[in-house]
């Protein structure tokens, strides 16, 4: 992160004490665990630059070094540009819609007066998170088929059949909406917690100033949870090249590769002939690199323009 400005942030009249060792000791378990289970395996990133054959051994040194070959094979694959485009489009659309849905629902649910209704709703909305895509996918294939319940409804309202699962355009929209539907409830958890943490005095003050409900929401609630929104967006932006693999693999078919084939499904298929670990690792590095760049950018922008340090 571009933390060139390391000037400490201090309160007037506050007490400060440097406690390096105490802090480091607190971080020790985390660091040890990460060194063992994240950094040590990271040596395996070398696989991306080799033509990796398991039988030759991971660190034996007898793997063929091929440099950037896996990367170039990936980038020149005829389906790669499409997969990249789809990945980015789907990710960003989902992120935006997801944020709107979970923030929106969290705010609305917080305003529910009846506490039983509130608790019930909160619990119900996070159920879809638990339904695996295997079963949700098979249910959706039935529901969105040309004689499925959704199209029958559309027909009865006078509309024409929509090829949700057979045509690229509707397919991407289906992917986005269904994934958000499945996950937004989970996102409301953190926002409800954040909303709960807002000082009631602020609402009081707003009411005294004559603000009505929507205005209270606009001027108290949303600013109050804005930092969480920013953090979560930042957390997500690094993962823009990830996809809901389980969802797509259960819903897609060659007809809709045009809008539904993403990096993860492309790698998956390429690994079927012979598990192509080199390619998978190369794409993983590519994703990481892009994620690093975007995260750094987001951090910098937040710092520069909102004076907000996310990390």
């Amino acid at each position: 992160m571009l933390t060139t400005r390391n000037k400490p942030v201090r309160r007037k009249g506050g007490i400060y004490r440097s406690d390096n060792w105490a802090y480091i000791s607190m971080l020790l378990p985390t660091v040890i665990l990460l060194l063992m289970f994240n950094y040590l395996p990271m040596a395996g990133l070398l696989i991306a630059f080799e033509r990796f054959i398991p039988a030759k051994g991971l660190f034996s040194g007898s793997q063929d070094w091929v440099g950037l070959r896996s990367f170039s094979m990936a980038f020149t694959d005829p389906l790669f540009p499409q997969a990249l485009r789809n990945t980015v489009f789907l990710s960003i659309s989902k992120m935006i819609l997801y944020m709107m849905a979970s923030v929106g629902m969290a705010i609305l649910m917080s305003e529910l007066k009846n506490s039983f209704h509130k608790r019930l709703t909160q619990t119900l909305v996070y159920i879809p998170h638990f339904i695996s895509w295997i079963i949700l996918g098979s249910a959706m294939r039935m529901m969105f088929a040309s004689d499925g319940i959704v199209n029958r409804l559309i027909n009865s309202l006078g509309g024409e059949n929509v090829g949700f699962l057979t045509e690229p355009g509707p397919f991407s929209r289906l992917l986005i909406v269904s994934d958000v539907w499945k996950e937004f409830g989970f996102g409301t958890i953190i926002y409800m917690a954040a909303i709960a943490g807002i000082d009631p005095g602020l609402y009081e003050a707003a009411r005294i100033d004559g603000a009505n409900k929507p205005q209270q929401i606009r001027y108290v609630t949303i600013p109050g949870i804005s930092h969480i929104i920013v953090i979560l967006s930042l957390l997500n932006i690094g993962g823009v090249l990830n996809s809901s693999f389980d969802q797509i693999i259960n819903l897609y078919s060659p007809n809709v590769y045009q809008s539904g084939d993403v990096l993860d499904t492309l790698i998956y298929r390429k690994g079927i002939v012979a598990s192509n670990y080199s390619l998978a690792t190369a794409i993983g590095m590519f994703k990481g690199g892009v994620g690093l760049a975007l995260t750094s950018l987001a951090y910098y922008l937040a710092y520069r323009f909102a004076d907000y340090r996310i990390f």
């Binding site: 992160m1 933390t3 390096n20 985390t30 395996p41």
Partner: protein, 290 residues
């Protein structure tokens, strides 16, 4: 003050109910499926009500001692893994939250921790490390590698920064150590954040299935999700004895998967309501004013 049933309130109630209902519908459908006869499910006749009612799917799952064994594994995993995740997260987030210069090497650790969110070596190196540490096959393989969740640390870290700095002042004046401050002062007023993290930690351990399958040496030792995933893949009647067919008549892969969703979801539905009472207002404020 009298409750005002404004249009906005009513509209909100209706809207929220609709959304909640849309989330409930598939669940009802799955419940109906799991209690139905597989053939009727295949014929597409089951929508929101069971047809050919039978409990075979549930019996098939529950009467298998391997199922209960896997529940035990998951329980052990929760009891050990969740506290570990929480402690690790708390002890990492507190130092990293200090922007006041009291932690000189903060940036280094920030990089160290959050870099791992973006890069990893892949499945094989990860497996090899765990294998070399002789953890494969043991419960610790399900607990240690996933104990650090940088995303959760980030959330807690930012939450801690919203706490007013004054809460620590008196303790600092008294010369209290950082551990004491963290556990005696900071944590008690961080209940909403801790409750959220707790929910996340429980769900992460509950839902994890891949690590169980690839790190455990035999399905005997699978946690619940891994067990359900693997039995779902191997349902076949042609190889069963007549005694087993009795149990399995009326069910099949679809009803099994539906029942599977239930069994894996129900316990978790109790988790969130349990923690909801911590998501209440004014906890932070009380600490400072009082």
């Amino acid at each position: 003050m009298k409750k005002r049933f404004s249009i906005a309130t009513v509209a909100n109630t209706v809207f929220c109910s609709l959304v909640a209902f849309s989330c409930l519908l598939p669940v009802i459908h799955l419940a109906a499926m799991s209690l139905s006869n597989e053939d009727l499910v295949i014929f597409g006749q089951v929508s929101l009500w069971p047809k050919g009612f039978n409990l075979s799917s549930y019996e098939y799952i529950i009467e298998n001692s391997a199922f209960w064994r896997s529940c035990m594994v998951t329980l052990l995993r929760l009891v050990t893994g969740v506290p570990l995740k929480l402690i690790v997260c708390v002890m990492a987030a507190y130092p990293l939250s200090k922007l006041d210069g009291s932690f000189r090497h903060r940036s280094l650790f920030v990089w160290l921790i959050f870099f791992t969110m973006l890069f990893n070596g892949g499945l094989i190196p990860w497996f090899i490390v765990i294998n070399e540490l002789k953890l494969t096959g043991s419960l610790w393989a399900l607990i240690l590698p996933c104990a650090v969740v940088p995303g959760n640390i980030l959330l807690l870290l930012n939450f801690l920064r919203t706490l007013p700095g004054e809460v620590e002042d008196s303790a600092l004046i008294d010369g209290a150590g950082r551990y004491r401050i963290l556990f005696r002062i900071i944590l008690p007023i961080s209940k909403p954040a801790l409750a959220t993290l707790c929910v996340y930690a429980i769900l992460e351990h509950w839902n994890a299935w891949f690590d169980g399958i690839i790190l455990m040496n035999s399905p005997d030792r699978y946690p619940l999700m891994s067990y359900l995933y693997y039995t779902g893949e191997t349902i076949s009647f042609s190889q069963k004895s007549s005694a087993e067919i009795v149990d399995a008549a009326g069910m099949g892969r679809r009803t099994y998967r539906a029942a599977q969703v239930f069994i894996s979801t129900l316990p978790m539905l109790a988790v969130y309501p349990f923690f909801q009472r911590y998501f209440t207002k004014g906890i932070v404020l009380g600490a400072v004013k009082g």
